[in-house]
Symmetry: C2
Subunit: 596 residues, 2 copies
């Protein structure tokens, strides 16, 4: 079975020529992130992903992480791969420089993280969660706590987790019950049960730093009474050496549909010593700030799985011989199935989806970098607003798309796709969680239509639509028939997006329930329209480069093909989505639940 091969050409093309590396490496502190540096890092990462992580993907799925007597054993090879990962410096490329990280821009760490996800999504969750915990502490914890925990978390000597969910508190964290009792020494003793804790235990490292939402005794009810704590698995002595085992343990692992090698722990806190992060009762606020990064990370898993499922299906379709393709001149009686029009359509859907979700994720990463480092505050704010608008789209649309793409990957394999040894089924099973964790698609969609569009009367979305229309104007006026056709489809998609946006703005104030009922349609509509915009921009660049004799002609022709395919086959959905949104919301909001 072929291992994952990073799509370096597309990554570099999007990064340099579509999104624009110069939008980021001209920001303060990142002038060393030159094209050569980017190429070198991506090249090295691709080797690690293909040679170390990818071979562990199927074996990890089969063996899974296991639990015995309160301790987790990770799948064979994972511990060794973890230390290769850490020693190779991959664990800290985004982490803060003052604690030993490399502080690289998101635009560069994003393709690197995409590779980890394509190669082995169960593996990549551990460093992703560690980085989340690092950010939570770096933004909110006292200097003292930071110094105690961050250096070893950034170096990878310890890992980090996020403990939010409880059996009764899933999407609704206001229901968190874990209690924290203040002690005379300023620490707290935490007691309660947390579930769905990714890498809540592992055998990689001597310590694990849990970030935990809990309720200080006597705190207000609901969301305003939740605080954030840091709770190490092993307490740290004053001299920094490991001390006593803390009162927290993994009591079982969940039996999941996918990501078997990622231990999903049930954690029991029994008078565990915890340290308050920041101020009391502001825990949810701290977590939500961090969640933007986490949601971008999960959206990126969608890109990763689109790419991996596509590669596997394409490799199969080139090798597998069955039947004579319909209406293909000169086709053999028994041809590679890639020649069958329906199979080719499925593969193009997969490839175009990988490219569109990728370009969108990279675009948002570049905007994120600018929102953090641009010297002009107005530009920082503008970029932040677009990031906030698009994060739920990246998260919701890319993961929903990945699930469909992984399912097409099974379909391309026919009966063999249903057999586990082929590998296609694993991608589908793994992809299924991505539309749920870090907020379901419905939650992303409600965030989009509510906080991001409804409450600001669509201002940021309208601004983005204006940008998108400029691209259309550029395409419509050109000489290339292919680009004009793409531009015309994109124009229609933008019209649908605007129509839907206007409808939301008009209805939201008086009937938010009707808007919420169609929010997922709007999220998908936004994804297709913005994804189509990215593909159209890519096609325009590819066309210019081809005319100028620059770049890899085969790659550039492929980009024109997938852009046109996206426009003709996938973009037409926007009209139906707009229609379902606008026609059907009130019916659902008003429907008697007894009839549902």
């Amino acid at each position: 079975m072929a291992e994952y091969a990073a799509p370096l050409k597309d990554m570099q093309f999007v990064l340099k020529h579509v999104v624009g590396l110069d939008q980021v490496n001209t920001l303060p502190g990142w002038d060393e992130v030159t094209e050569d540096v980017v190429d070198a890092i991506l090249e090295e990462a691709s080797k690690f992903a293909g040679e170390v992580l990818s071979p562990l993907n199927a074996t990890g799925d089969k063996a899974g992480a296991t639990w015995k007597d309160g301790a987790v054993t990770t799948a064979p090879g994972f511990k060794d791969a973890y230390w290769q990962f850490v020693n190779g410096g991959w664990g800290n490329i985004m982490a803060p420089v003052e604690y030993g990280g490399q502080g690289l821009p998101a635009l560069l760490s994003t393709p690197v993280e995409e590779m980890w996800g394509s190669a082995n999504i169960a593996f990549k969750l551990c460093p992703m969660l560690t980085l989340g915990a690092v950010e939570a502490l770096h933004r909110n914890a006292s200097k003292e706590l930071q110094e105690r925990f961050l250096p070893n978390m950034v170096s990878g000597k310890w890992t980090g987790t996020m403990n939010l969910t409880e059996p009764q508190a899933g999407s609704d964290l206001s229901l968190v019950r874990t209690k924290a009792v203040p002690q005379a020494d300023g620490t707290y003793l935490l007691t309660g049960q947390k579930i769905f804790i990714t890498y809540g235990d592992q055998d990689y490292t001597e310590n694990i730093v849990h970030t935990v939402l809990a309720r200080i005794e006597g705190a207000p009810e609901g969301v305003k009474g939740i605080s954030l704590f840091v709770v190490p698995k092993v307490l740290i002595n004053a001299d920094g050496t490991p001390g006593a085992t803390n009162g927290v343990k993994c009591v079982s692992l969940e039996h999941k549909m996918g990501i078997h090698a990622s231990p999903t722990a049930v954690m029991a806190y029994d008078n565990a010593v915890g340290y308050l992060v920041g101020e009391a009762n502001r825990g949810l606020e701290y977590m939500f700030v961090m969640m933007n990064a986490a949601r971008l990370g999960v959206g990126l898993e969608g890109v990763s799985l689109c790419e991996r499922a596509y590669q596997r299906a394409r490799d199969w379709a080139v090798e597998r011989l069955q039947g004579r393709p319909v209406g293909v001149a000169g086709a053999a009686k028994t041809a590679p199935i890639i020649q069958h029009p329906d199979v080719k359509r499925m593969l193009l859907t997969m490839k175009a989806s990988a490219e569109a979700t990728r370009a969108l994720a990279y675009q948002v990463s570049a905007l994120l970098d600018r929102s953090r480092k641009h010297p002009d505050e107005a530009e920082r704010r503008r970029c932040q607003a677009v990031v906030d608008l698009l994060i739920p789209v990246v998260k919701g649309w890319s993961t929903e798309t990945a699930f469909e793409v992984a399912s097409l990957g099974v379909q391309v394999h026919g009966g063999m796709g249903f057999i586990e040894e082929t590998g296609a089924a694993q991608h589908l099973r793994d992809a299924r969680i991505s539309t749920i964790y870090e907020g379901t698609t419905g939650i992303q969609a409600n965030d989009l239509v509510g906080r991001k569009v409804g409450r600001e009367a669509g201002a940021t979305m309208k601004g983005l639509i204006g940008e998108m229309r400029k691209t259309v104007a550029g395409l419509a006026g050109g000489e290339d028939a292919e680009l004009r056709a793409i531009g015309s489809r994109l124009a229609r998609a933008i019209d649908a997006l605007e129509r839907a946006t206007d409808w939301i703005v008009a209805v939201y104030a008086n009937d938010p329930g009707a808007v919420a009922a169609g929010a997922v349609y709007y999220l998908k509509l936004s994804g297709y329209a913005v994804g189509g915009w990215m593909m159209a921009r890519a096609a325009a660049v590819a066309t210019r480069q081809l005319a100028a004799g620059e770049g890899d002609a085969q790659f550039l022709r492929g980009k024109r093909l997938t852009a046109r395919f996206f426009a003709d086959h996938l973009l037409p959905q926007v009209d139906s989505l707009a229609e379902s949104l606008m026609a059907g919301g009130a019916l659902v909001r008003g429907a008697d639940e007894a009839l549902v």
Copy 2:
């Protein structure tokens, strides 16, 4: 965990009032199939499904069928359930009367079979395959072979299988290599390997009757050289007693994504004694005739899984408390999630999909009955043409829909949906095979656009469109605003279907590859349009009954709701599907595979 409860009200409503039981029980030989008989049979079947089969669904998934030393052990409880099934007379309700079957119409056996699939799809595959083998022999085998095998197959004493696939011959059966060497006594010795053989071995019965495609030595290459054989696991002595073990065995089972309790066998034939069914070299033809029934059966699995996934998700959504619903007046701070508009939308999508796919499958079953038994040959032929047209739609659309619905079922459960013990994930894994076996969705779609629409210039589809327009006319002229709204959406869907049909008829002769590239879009479009038509008819009946004070008012109001939901939320897809079909085919057909 709640067990499956058959949706008897909807089954009876569709059967009696939408499709029309009188279309079938007025046919010769079926006058005893009165409303009371139907009610009694459905009632009994629902008990067996809910009390015996449903409790084995999750345990069967977990334990799976296992293989040791050439023999299969089925999951705990399955053997006992099989004998209860047989002794209850459920195995032979469709089987021919002359061999001990009950010969009931498809319109009645279809809801019964739907129940088996909802309760336990892995279980129901065994009797489904047996019936397929019975039909193959009943249609094509000599009287002698029929008498030797059919009585015990019909009684359930023996089971039957279909052995088509080989490693190199999946969808393309022309590549079958299993060879059959004629013997002096008129028998053949078969040698070769077959894969993906459902219930190729089991521990239920003392014998298994395999129907096997093989190539007689010296037969022509390709599809014209394939013959059908019957090969028992245990040879039968002249006096009917069991004889020597035949040269066929199960050498391993596949490790699949779902339907774990259904053993999927690799079968090795080593000079196994086989008996030729019908004439030499006509095996594929015999199999394809039988395949219509099998495809209807698999399409029905789509209905079954829609219903089961819906029931489980609804039960969860009523119990699970999370958050305050957006825009719902008077909602509690922590409400049942069914009140959240997005969750309600998902549940309505699931319910409406179950109802629409059900109504379509029952309609096709009634037409199938008429195509077999109507005294007027012209009516028989008319019904057969519509059945032939709609079988690929039932198979392809209902199973694709079931996969989406099962995925929504996981989504409604949130994180719990990804945990196997909840049960939602099993339905998704089980559903995944249904779009593949008995011909992938792509193969169904090519059958639809080619053999069924392209070659007859759309004649049967145009006839059906005419029927559908009559329904629209009835709705448009009425006083009920709800029905008028549904009628208006349906009219638009019919326009899209006609536009797409005209396009196919115009393009097929000269560019069949472009049609094939968009065939799946057309199949889905047909499914939504015809499903929308069934829902509209159901809504019209429900409205009449409500006005007349007949029937169960709560049920009828629910039917009006799902019909309107289907029209406003799901039907709008038809325009986009038509657009993708007509815009994108030539691009795919002409695309260089090296760029895909």
